[in-house]
Amino acid sequence: MANTYTLIEAKTLTTTAASVTFTSIPQTYTDLLLKFSCRSTSTAGADIYANLKIQFNSDTGNNYTGQLVFGLGSGSGGAGTYTSQAGNLFSYANGNVTTASTFSSGELYIPNYTSNNQKSSSVDCVVENNATSGFVEVAAERWSGTSAITTIDLVSIYGSHTADSTFYLYGIKNS
């Protein structure tokens, strides 16, 4: 029986870290799925969330674009787009102003990560909070690089990832 949904690597932080990196990603799968549960040390403003920046193959150039829609628990929510950024931006961690011991949940799906096409991906993410606001978003993202993805960096833009944040990278095979 084919083993098609395989854990490549799990990372659980035991102390704060500004970034988390998966390196030497095997090229033997069809798609990648990254599941994350994380919290940030950030207390910036009143934001309940802190952005994560995702970079592929250590590319810090302005080669990332995306589109998203989100809701905050009241009002009509919002939408946004970005171009020519130095990382895919629409993954989120609970900020340190949210309910203690609460971590965001999210996943990043990257089809055909070994192809020579630009890499498009899908992000779903929630930040829950025992207060007035919560946050839920879906996003479409693209890295214009055409190399196979061998490295993924998850950088905390504000503050650092806290201890007990977890990141799981899976490989999915179509045969």
Partner: protein, 170 residues
Amino acid sequence: MAAGATYEPIGTTTLGSATGTVTFSSISQSYTDLILISSIKSNNANTSSLLFELNGVNSGSLYSGTMIYGSGSAKGSNRTSSLNYGLILRNGGLSANTAITQPFITHFMNYSNTTNFKTVISRNNVDDVVAGIDVCLWRSTAAITSIRIFAQTNDFAIGSTFTLYGIAAA
């Protein structure tokens, strides 16, 4: 199926020539849910909606759907009913940009159930046009045995990939 085996590939297609339709037929009834991963490149500079039909049913107005979306700074929701096809992406959301690949993750819940109508949930990712979720109801109690995915006004380009996975609850 061996115990513990799940998320199994049922079928995969990588296009060797442009086409506007891809079909998975004789789908095994051994799983609980299905997930279709589509990675689509447009073949020409036309926008298109992305549609599906189940078991070859394209009459009777049995499909309806609701979506939320973000497109640039615009956001909103849409709803359509009494259709003869299901919607994965509506309003011409497929990009006309032939250089990009557009991933769609489509869930067919309890597809082998013969008691309930079928719900389909699709995550849409067209990073230069739209991000959103489209939910579709097919008002049929028949088990899903075939899925046809097709573009309304465009072709899928060479290299587009479609993989159907079976998810077993036990």
